[in-house]
Homo-oligomer: 371 residues x 2
């Protein structure tokens, strides 16, 4: 494939309040996520990765759309949507929560923010959770309002993130614990700020709910970050695979249960909670796992990436799963992959054959994430 | 903006069984539609347009995903989802049908194919109707199965489409009326073929339900089409704006009722049917329209396209709506646009000011589509 197609713009593929800055920083490639632009590369995947691990980056992650659920039945609806027990959730907490359908299949894997007793945000991965929530609410006749608020998250990620954030928002930022949020102020406007983000380098997510402040906010972080070598970034394909961060749509889909995705600890069947898919997941637990997400390591780099599932075979030629994501990793000395593998083949050290676009390649299974 | 970002590939942005052929034909740009690749340009928008209007094109429209609804309550669920009366629907018919939410807002505008008394396909625009249907079914406890089948539509469009299709599938193809479908055979495999497609140039959509036949099917149509100057194509931004084909996500969203989108004839409030949003649409009908989709014509071309809504003002400076799509049109001698305009300003001939990225520009309102 010599062709490198560009991405056509249209209103349907939504720009964000930060897009002008992202483009001024020379974004080289986009993807589309929740019908919205998401940058994927600025300088190069490798340079972006190195910079993220050593400095601080500002990320336009507006595409992490919020689904707001508010009203007397809000807590009931949110619990209906996830197998994770939220009965003890408190204001100020963020919950990574698999959403499952009636078959126990993954619908999405948002961060849920409890903003009040009757008010939640689901900060979603790439599927229209809004329609799922509205369908359930309408079908069950629940007393809630479900909508997509005008919230455009901006992430500040990397080892120097806290230093920059403390200079922008004050030292209170330092007191925010991991997966907790607080309300801090920017131009006298309260903003939800969480210690979270889709990297393993530490950082924050700012849930900006007034697009008119977007460029001022970006610019202030940028100016403040100059002393810390700030640059524009985005979720990095190398960093996230190395770090074992799963991507909905890539590594998991409605074909997979949370158990298969290694998210069994968030399936709280022993809690006295009502959620869609409870019965199906109880059956899954009873039956045990037939496949799960593992990693595969290779000794060599590959000059390609995973655009479609790559078949995985046992050394005897039996089809035993597929690779869903991967990247070349300096840290691990070769191409590393996330794969869904059948029972019997997921023991660390097992050798497998992978059908890559560059021919069949021998790899070694490791536990998830890389051991 | 000098930057023309490319589209990053990943499994989440799904390729199709025809993608290799699309790329071999030199696709220049893609968009993402229902989490899947959709070509937007091959040679240039103008050349693609001209070729489509005079010859025949083969389009990979796999991204028109199907939502299959099957089971004893299938007809009930499908009717719940749309304000169009489907009570007299028969096998072999295609229905353009607005789907609406509890507020009467547009969720999608699929073509609905009735495949049997208890079986339907919703051939959808760009939103996860699957989750909406599953949410409603789960919430109401309906006895249906809702899923996305492995169906990858291929369109053959243009004035010579019937000639090519008759040579591939036999002359029975000629008997298929507009918005009707029949089952015809390819390699002894039955395929649903409809006279439909997202252009005004005539043609067919083939609902291939076996991806292993995809390349054979593409290649046979290609070989057969050579005598008719066939080339690869895709929904064309010029042809569809000139032709008044609305695009969900561009020209309409959940913020709009079908009335505002000019789809009032599909709101069958007088029929004895139960659908979500019935009450809200009854109120809308009672209150009358405050805004609706119109067209605006300009005397000049613009060297830009509509990436975000462009504000529209009255000649007195009052904000009266926005432009949602547009293109340069040789046929109409300048830039033409689709716009949502307030009452009082939608009379054909009204002059308005439009805030374009190239400065303010005077335009003239015309009825929809262009009069």
């Amino acid at each position: 494939m010599a062709v490198v197609p560009t991405l056509s713009g249209s209103r349907r593929v939504r720009r964000t309040p930060y897009s002008d800055r992202v483009e001024a920083c020379g974004v080289k490639a986009y993807t589309v996520y929740n019908h919205m632009l998401l940058a994927t590369v600025f300088r190069s995947l490798d340079e972006d990765y190195q910079h993220l691990c050593e400095n601080v980056q500002i990320w336009d992650v507006s595409c992490e759309r919020q689904v707001e659920i508010i009203g007397p039945d809000a807590a009931k609806l949110v619990q209906l949507m996830t197998c994770r027990d939220l009965s003890k959730a408190k204001y100020g907490q963020c919950f990574y929560a698999p959403l499952v359908d009636e078959n126990g299949g993954m619908v999405n894997d948002p961060i849920i923010l409890k903003l009040g007793e009757d008010r939640f945000w689901l900060s979603i991965a790439d599927s229209d959770v809004l329609l799922w929530a509205k369908g359930l609410a309408s079908g069950r006749g629940l007393d809630v309002k479900v909508f997509e608020p005008e919230v455009f998250p901006l992430a500040v990620q990397g080892p120097m993130a806290e230093e920059v954030m403390a200079r922008v928002f004050g030292s209170e930022v330092r007191d925010i614990k991991f997966f907790r949020f607080a309300e801090l102020f920017f131009q006298n406007h309260g903003l939800i700020i969480a210690r979270s983000g889709w990297s393993r380098q530490g950082g924050f997510e700012i849930y900006l709910d007034n697009p008119e402040l977007a460029l001022d906010l970006w610019d202030l972080i940028w100016e403040t970050g100059k002393g810390f070598n700030i640059f524009a970034g985005c979720p990095n394909a190398i960093e996230r695979v190395e770090g074992g961060l799963l991507s909905y749509g890539n590594d998991m889909s409605s074909e997979n249960t949370p158990y298969e995705c290694g998210l069994g600890k968030y399936v709280n069947l022993d809690a006295d909670i009502d959620f869609v898919g409870r019965e199906a997941l109880a059956v899954s637990r009873e039956q045990g796992l037939s496949r799960k997400i593992c990693n595969i390591r290779f000794d060599v780099n590959l000059d390609t990436t995973v655009l479609e599932a790559w078949n995985v075979y046992s050394v005897d030629g039996e089809k035993i799963g597929y690779v869903s994501s991967g990247c070349n990793s300096k840290k691990f000395g070769g191409f590393i992959a996330i794969a869904m593998l059948d029972h019997k083949f997921w023991t660390s050290g097992t050798f497998v054959m992978v059908q890559t676009p560059r021919g069949d390649l021998k790899g070694r299974v490791t536990n998830f994430p890389f051991d």
